[in-house]
């Protein structure tokens, strides 16, 4: 290596008795040591960046020589100057680095001097502010962005996306390379860049287009920045709730009573300008304080007290899955059912008042056994105040048996059951009347009455069957 360097020195400048020769080191290159041209260029370097080049001084003479000076003027510098003076033996070398840190856009030159060496160094500082930036929204021609100005995306519904095209144009006569571009979000992730390849080379007069998207991830002001090398362009926008019309609840039900199934529609008085989702909630305020919840009061689609719906741009009604309405059950509790719809910033309510009603008897079965009379009654009491039950047993001729109706005080039994049930006012009662004398099969039918705070419910005749 050393012999090759000396050979290079001799070929390039001729061998003197003590002479320092300057070379460029290119570690890792196929030709790691090359002669320095008369004027060495550091090439382009963005303002704020630094470009380093390693040099070597070789004593190509036959005697030792003193290195007493090694200097260069800004914007070039020698960051790690060797300790001077330094004796360089014949064939000896001194390696050092020269840095080029342009302080602005334009051409720079300086002379590197060492004992007997004078080398012209040049370099070009490039600044991204020489690049013209214009911004468009894809519909009109991009508009130049003034110095220090930002890009405002305006107000946009949360979840929607708008884009801006950022055009970089190199108006200079020299090529320009953009090394780094990124988007920073001060909060959330509302601003995003479409993918692109770095670096971006801009030929003289050439341009490149980037796309920045704004998708508000929350409501309120959103801030970010587009960084192009050292250029910082503020990004601003405002997330707002989607622009929906005020939703209106429409209810269709055959009877405003307990244990009914109805349908609910969310109507929009005008076509929605946005797409999004909403929710309908149902809640009951029972007529009776302190009663257990009613698991039967639900939307059938979800099986719960709430159900989501969707609205697409142009819709005039909410969509529940693929249907334009959603079915619900009124349950078995008297009170006021309030339906609340939420869509964007809007809420709307509608209520159904379920009046207290006498107990409803849904099914009855009556069987006589050898020991007595077995009755099964299902139904509901939406007041949960059932108190007495009256049983009138009749024979096949319709005559009342047992000397008249049997009245059973059942307040406590009902209250204890309702206190443990979260299924509203529904109940199933299995009642057995022992027959202490006579043949149970003589009983042909029974009429049952249940009394609660709203009145008395009689059944028609329930006929006994054999088990």
């Amino acid at each position: 290596m050393m012999r090759r360097l000396i050979l290079l020195a001799c070929l390039g400048t001729g061998c003197l008795s003590a002479q320092l020769q300057l070379f460029i080191l290119q570690p890792g290159q196929a030709d790691p040591i090359v002669n320095v041209p008369a004027s060495f260029s550091f090439g382009e370097c963005p303002v704020g960046d630094v470009r380093d080049v390693q040099f070597r001084l070789l004593n190509a003479g036959t005697g030792s020589t003193q290195l007493t000076t090694l200097a260069v003027t800004p914007p070039f510098s020698i960051p790690y100057e060797p300790s001077l003076p330094e004796t360089v033996p014949p064939g000896g070398t001194v390696d050092f680095t020269v840095s080029f840190a342009p302080t602005g856009a334009g051409s720079f030159s300086a002379t590197l001097t060492a004992d007997g060496v004078s080398q012209l160094l040049t370099g070009t500082g490039t600044a991204v502010d020489t690049v013209a930036i214009s911004v468009g929204d894809g519909t009109n021609a991009p508009v130049p962005l003034g110095a220090g100005a930002g890009i405002d995306f305006g107000s946009l519904a949360q979840g929607s996306t708008t884009s801006r095209q950022v055009v970089l144009t190199n108006p200079t006569q020299a090529a320009f390379t953009v090394q780094n571009i990124r988007v920073d979000n001060l909060q959330g992730s509302s601003f995003q860049m479409q993918p692109f390849a770095l670096p971006i080379s801009l030929a003289p007069g050439g341009s490149a287009t980037l796309e920045v998207d704004f998708t508000p991830s929350s409501t309120g002001p959103q801030q970010g920045a587009l960084e192009i090398d050292q250029l910082y362009i503020p990004l601003t926008g405002v997330g707002v709730n989607p622009l929906f019309p005020q939703p209106i609840i429409l209810i269709a039900i055959s009877s405003t009573a307990s244990s009914e199934q109805g349908t609910l529609t969310v109507s929009l008085p005008s076509a929605s300008q946005e797409s999004g989702t909403g929710q309908v909630q149902m809640a009951v305020t029972p007529s009776m304080p302190g009663v257990n919840p009613d698991s039967g009061m639900v939307f059938l689609l979800s099986g719960t007290e709430s159900v989501p719906f969707t609205v697409n741009q142009g819709d005039t009604a909410g969509q529940f899955g693929s249907a334009g309405s959603v079915a619900f059950q009124t349950g078995t509790t008297a009170g006021t059912i309030v339906f609340t719809v939420t869509l964007g910033d809007f809420t709307g309510t509608s209520s159904l008042t379920i009046p207290a009603a006498p107990a409803n008897i849904d099914t009855t079965t009556a069987q006589y056994t050898s020991g007595g009379l077995d009755l099964e009654i299902t139904g509901f009491d939406n007041t949960r105040t059932a108190s007495t039950m009256t049983f009138t047993f009749r024979d096949a001729n319709g005559a009342t048996l047992n000397g008249g109706p049997i009245t059973v005080a059942a307040t406590t039994d009902f209250q204890e059951f309702f206190a443990t049930s979260d299924d509203g006012g529904m109940f199933a009662l299995h009642a057995f009347f022992p027959v202490t004398a006579g043949n149970p099969a003589q009983v042909d039918s029974v009429e049952i009455q249940i009394t609660n705070s709203a009145g008395t419910t009689p059944t028609s005749k329930v006929y006994f069957t054999a088990p």
Binding site: L300, T304, G372, L401, H430, F433
Partner: protein, 260 residues
Amino acid sequence: MSRRAVVFLLCVAPAIAQPKFSVPLVGIARDSQQQLRIVHGVSGTFVLHDVIGKNAVDWAFDGHGGLVNTGSELLTLGADVTVIRRRPVAQQEAVLGPQNAFFPETAELWRTGPQGDSKVPIAAAMIAGRVIALGPTKAHAVQLAVCRANAFWLLAVDTANGAITQELTPGGAIAEQACLAAGGGSLVLLADRMLLATAHAILIQTVAGVERSIAISASHLARVGEQWVEIESAGEPARMIRITPEGEKVYQLPAAKERP
């Protein structure tokens, strides 16, 4: 005996002995996850509760008992919808009634109940067709709906000896469509009427010959309670028909909500 004497002779205790309250049972139904669940409630208010079987292929329950075919097991249900017995089934195909199961591959008819299963010695040659539904057991006879080619037959089989005691070919729309290769839908036999699911409607025919229909396209019907038949339609929530002497009324079932 005079009316007065009857009244005198019968003495009913004037109080209910041990009244028992519970949540009313409607029956069973299959949810959207193919799980068979207990359905509590009254007409118009339904609550889907515990899962009693997963991957149910077929099921029948009449309020007194029932059967569930899971493809690998035959579950016998008690009146309270608890599983009281399980037995593996080697044959995938089975026609279920609430108390009976018919296995077409072996032409075996099994009676099930709380006391156990018993095989009815039925002669396959006597059936001479494809069993598509089982009716309720009444007076020691079980009704079989049979397709003999395209002809619809109702057979009464003596559960004691397997003898066919009655064969009849009812007329009507159900008889015309039940055995069609393309239109043979799900059939439910009840004591007083039968229901057939078709692509356009559920056809109903009473023993008195009255015919009516419900405009629901159904893929599957199953008896699921004393007064209830479940309707399954592709892409639709499950529905229930309440069967009463006065007619039929359709309700929609809520989606299942898991209890904590």
